[in-house]
């Protein structure tokens, strides 16, 4: 159940009264956000704020993702995650605009921008909420397959909430608008292919931003899941150093317990 709307409708210029409230509006009161969008009261500036928030949060999640592989992947993932999200939305925006227009939902260009930026913002806020978890597993596990499934699960939760917000804003929602279901399927297809296009995210590609080999997303996923014989760059053996030779504090006590 979504929380009830608690904020007032906006001022005359069609923007949200306080720009810093845009993120709180999307996260805490999705119904108020939906009302604003339906009244065409979520202006371009507010949409840009939501989009900027989405980019920043996605970048933070990217950093947490890049921790697993380390090296160049650290900053590359911080660039790639927002790029994947924004490019997927940009490619699917025209079809959402046209399909909603054709199906009789009174949604204009500004409202479509508001819906998409709001959904992207909510998705990214959920991702950033999971970033510490992704970081913890990134530094403590060496299993690529597990990390792939973890990130798919986290992104799945984020995208599901983003799409739920979309269904809340659009009149008659998913149940009364079958075109939204089709659009969501197209969006997921594009996102999956975009992710594959900008791969690798969980491996250091030795300074190259993306792998030039083109693959379908399902091919890449199946390859990644069965690719267990060779370890990812992040899983290389720890370098031998002086400190590595020293006994770890407490090891003896643990050995004594066993």
């Amino acid at each position: 159940m979504l929380p009830e709307a608690t904020t007032d409708l906006p001022d005359a210029d069609g923007g949200v009264p306080a720009e810093e409230n845009v993120l709180a509006l999307v996260l805490k009161t999705p119904r108020a956000f939906a009302e604003r969008v339906l009244h065409d009261a979520f202006g371009w500036r507010a949409s840009l704020t939501a989009l900027a928030g989405a980019v920043a949060f996605d970048a933070l999640y990217g950093v947490a993702t890049g921790v697993f592989a380390g090296g160049h992947a650290f900053w590359m993932a911080a660039l790639k995650v927002p790029l994947i999200a924004i490019a997927s939305l940009a490619l699917c925006a025209p079809s959402l605009y046209v399909l909603l227009g054709l199906s009789g939902s009174p949604i204009g260009l500004r409202q479509v921008a508001a819906i998409l930026s709001g959904s992207a913002c909510l998705t990214s806020m959920l991702l950033v909420g999971f970033a510490p978890v992704a970081w913890l597993f990134g530094v403590s596990t060496t299993n690529v397959q597990f990390m792939i499934l973890l990130h798919i699960g986290v992104c799945g939760i984020g995208v599901a909430y983003g799409l739920r917000l979309l269904g809340t804003v659009v009149p008659r929602g998913f149940s009364g608008n079958k075109v939204l279901v089709v659009w969501s399927a197209v969006f997921l297809l594009v996102s999956a292919q975009m992710l594959t296009y900008f791969r690798p995210l969980l491996a250091d590609s030795a300074g190259r931003f993306r792998d030039d080999r083109k693959q379908f997303f399902f091919e890449h996923f199946l390859d990644s899941m069965k690719y267990s014989g060779e370890r990812a760059v992040a899983e290389r053996e720890p370098e031998q150093s002086d400190s590595a030779a020293l006994p770890v504090e407490g090891t003896d006590q643990l050995a004594a317990l066993e």
Binding site: A90, V98, I107, K214
Partner: protein
Amino acid sequence: METMQAQRRFWHSLPESLPHAIGLDRQRGEAFFEQVASRRGLLPSIGLAAAVVILGSATYGFTFGLWRSSLLAAYVAIKLPALLVITTSLVMLLNWIVAQLTASGLGFTQVAALTYRAMATASLVLASLAPVSAFMAVACPPPQPNDDLAHNVLLLIHVAFVACAGVYGNSIVLRGMRRLCRPGTPIVRLYFAWLASNVIVGCQLAWILRPFLGSPNYPVAFLRSDALDGNFFEFVFITIVWKRLLGL
């Protein structure tokens, strides 16, 4: 002067809703059905719908052929609008005769207006999917001889897009029939008769106008040298079902 004002109105309404601006949304659809019922001013409506069909399907067609080569993209940008316009025009007479047989009371221009509107809606949906289609062409594995996976997956994606757009477009015909046909008309039978004529003619015309996606095993061409040999249904039922699937 009036044209300029109309153009200005069009561009002003664009940010609100493109489908509304060109009269293809549901709200204007009701007004359109009333216009079709009154049989007044249908030729400009048909002209506008034909323009949307040509522009929309040309945009999508370009991205359809882009995977194989930019030359094929240019070819398909011509062939896809031709396919839709010729199919719609060829089945018009048959659709009108069937409409008379079922005593629907629909006139020829009414049948034309309904059919072209459905095609225009489908073309607009296809045009809106053009960015996705272009991305798929760029991001998917490139054409390689003797490697049919990329070709087949992309073909499946395009068939799904075109089918969804077609189903959505034709739902307008069904809505229009419910509003316009005389009481007692077997609407569902009439609708499926129209749909069947569209599918049969459209598939064969698509067969003649192939290639669209462009198999990597054949050279790029506007039309195949064997364009008029065989037919779509012979290919599907004999080559695919009979020989490949059943091994007979």
